[in-house]
């Protein structure tokens, strides 16, 4: 089973502060790790260092125990990486682009055919004879994802894998990742909290090249409290009645005649009092946090600033 490790990893460019500052972590086994942080936090840089697209200023990265700076072929042998926006030669067709990857990964002709069929089924690929240059952004992204999966590597490094995909394609990829994580190690860098929430077992929050939090998703959920709820009533509620809820919580904002958004301090006691007050106004159909737990955690750990807002 795969492993991903970085040890005191730092990366600086000629100008500016270090992008990564003595980062260390190691993940073993199967599962999915969400890698979260604002733009410029160092997520993509970490992935690039892992696959050897960048050279570390200090420290080491290891994939399955092999340092790509020492043995690039060995390190990447059982690894699939989707970083930035991969573009096969536009003159190749889908089959040729995947075939080249399969052959370079050591698949036989028959295995390449089988893998292409598997990826075609998993990702609803565009017609195999179509030129890459003629594909839409979403189609190219699915081909790039298929290339990442060719040969079924045990470690998957995915940087915004659903970027450029439509909602249906995103659902498809999320389901795929949930299947893959059963027996693959997936490091998923994403801004999509829903994606990370649905897929990942662990989550790492990164900011300015440093790890702020690294924990299991369920434990993060236990320590983070949602500070906003959406309330849906069975019938329209008078605005003056609804805004009176501010006495218990904070700001009350109308979404529709029946739906209101209420901010509060996040405590269970206030939440219960809010629910009771709402039930006093009209039957409550729905009373739910407006944001995902990870989103709240993200905002708590990394408050919006001029840099990352």
């Amino acid at each position: 089973m795969g492993s991903i490790e970085v040890s005191s990893l730092s990366k600086s460019f000629r100008t500016g502060p270090p992008v990564l500052d003595s980062l260390s972590f190691r993940f073993d086994g199967a599962g999915a790790v969400g890698y979260l942080g604002p733009n410029g936090a160092g997520k993509t840089t970490t992935l690039k260092l892992l696959v050897g697209l960048l050279r570390p200023s200090r420290g080491h990265a290891f994939l399955n125990g092999v340092d790509p700076m020492v043995d690039r072929k060995g390190a990447l042998w059982d690894v699939g990486a989707l970083i930035e926006t991969p573009e096969p030669y536009p003159t190749l067709n889908v089959l040729e682009a995947l075939d080249a990857v399969g052959r370079l990964r050591g698949l036989t002709r028959d295995d390449v055919d089988r893998e292409v069929d598997r990826c075609h089924e998993l990702l609803d690929l565009p017609p195999l004879g179509q030129r890459i240059g003629g594909l839409s952004k979403g189609q190219r992204q699915r081909v790039a994802l298929a290339a990442t999966l060719m040969g079924d590597p045990s470690v998957l490094l995915l940087d915004e894998p659903t970027s450029g995909l439509d909602p249906a394609e995103r659902v498809l990829v999320r389901h795929l990742l949930n299947r893959l994580k059963r027996d693959h190690l997936v490091l998923l860098s994403s801004h999509q909290m829903l994606e990370v929430t649905e897929v990942c077992d662990r989550v790492v929050f990164l900011d300015r090249g440093r790890i702020l939090l690294d924990d299991r998703v369920d434990r993060v959920a236990g320590r983070i409290r949602s500070r906003q709820v959406d309330v849906e009533f069975a019938r329209p509620v008078a605005p003056e009645s609804a805004t009176a809820l501010a006495d218990v919580g904070g700001a009350v904002t109308p979404i529709s005649e029946r739906r209101w958004r209420i901010s509060f301090d996040g405590s269970d006691a206030t939440r219960i009092r809010l629910l009771e007050r709402c039930q006093g106004l009209a039957p409550v159909v729905q009373f739910a946090p407006t944001t995902l737990v990870l989103e709240d955690a993200y905002l708590e750990l990394i408050p919006p600033t001029a840099d990352n807002a």
């Binding site: 260390s24 690039k48 060995g74 990857v101």
Partner: protein, 307 residues
């Protein structure tokens, strides 16, 4: 184990709680360790297809054929007698003059096939597709270099073929210096290897593909030629110039070859023109190949994907 602030957590984690076994149904492909040689072959074939489909090869080949055939047509129009007189009644002289443009075609081929061969990985998304695969960069370079060489030599070969057809037409097959012609073609192949190694070096250094193509042409054609003329004016042999070495391709066929010509400019003043001897030219080409190809590999290896 914490590093940095108090909230920073470092640790070893088994993701998902336990280390599960690999299920047969989802780990599908059985992969064998593929050799560098096999990967080189795949890269070479892929690159050949790329060059052919982007019409670089066919475009340059068509251009060379067009110029060669037009030249031949003008000569045929002038008449066999006129051509024989102009070429001193020697097929070797004809071939030497006809093939004098080989250097230009090689430079263009080097620029077209090598000028962006490596920079494409760092200026477009191509690198994020290919450089994340378990392939050594030296193997990628070798495959692309091989593909570029094959196509450049093919173009040169067609040019030599047309020149030879012309020589046979005007002088007869029995007069062709086949041995020298093959030697000249060999020198052209070596010149192609050397020029491509320079082009690959430019490509490993310059991130913009179009700039790489342009710089290759400027360096190999304009730069060397200009510097060579300046140095010759000073009466110094331009032994360091690749274009100087390129003269070997035609010189091998030239039966009146002289290494140094003194052109009188006035009283006690001469302009010296140097022509590389075959051994000197070949040595210069080998030196370029030996220096620039490893240097390309070094630069390519160190290049980072920062974009």
């Amino acid at each position: 184990m914490a590093s940095g602030g108090p909230t920073v957590i470092d640790h070893v984690a088994t993701v998902g709680g336990t280390a599960p076994s690999v299920s047969a149904e989802s780990r599908t492909a059985s992969r064998r360790r593929v050799s560098d040689f096999e990967q080189w072959r795949v890269v070479t074939v892929n690159q050949l297809e790329h060059y052919v489909r982007t019409y670089r090869f066919l475009g340059l080949l068509g251009f060379v054929v067009l110029i060669s055939v037009l030249t031949l047509a003008f000569e045929i129009d002038a008449g066999t007698g006129a051509v024989r007189v102009a070429q001193l009644f020697r097929s070797s002289e004809y071939l030497s003059n006809f093939l004098a443009n080989t250097g230009l075609w090689v430079v263009l081929a080097a620029a077209f096939f090598g000028g962006d061969a490596l920079s494409v990985d760092f200026s477009t998304g191509a690198g994020y597709y290919i450089l994340v695969l378990p392939v050594r960069r030296s193997v990628l370079l070798a495959g692309r270099y091989t593909a570029a060489t094959l196509l450049a030599v093919a173009i040169v070969g067609v040019y030599y073929l047309i020149g030879t057809i012309g020589a046979i037409y005007f002088f007869g097959a029995g007069t062709i210096p086949w041995g020298a012609l093959v030697e000249s073609l060999g020198a052209a192949a070596l010149f192609t290897l050397a020029a491509l190694s320079v082009a690959f070096c430019v490509s490993a250094f310059v991130r913009s593909p179009s700039a790489g193509v342009l710089i290759t042409v400027l360096v190999l054609y304009v730069g060397f030629t200009t510097l060579q003329s300046v140095v010759e004016l000073a009466g110094v042999e331009p032994w360091w110039s690749l274009s100087y070495a390129g003269g070997t391709m035609a010189a091998i066929l030239d039966t009146d070859f002289v290494h140094v010509q003194l052109i009188p400019l006035g009283e006690d003043q001469f302009y010296t023109i140097w022509s590389a001897t075959a051994s000197e030219g070949l040595a210069i080409m080998v030196a370029y190949l030996a220096v620039f190809l490893p240097f390309s590999a070094y630069l390519y290896q160190r290049q980072e994907s920062t974009g």
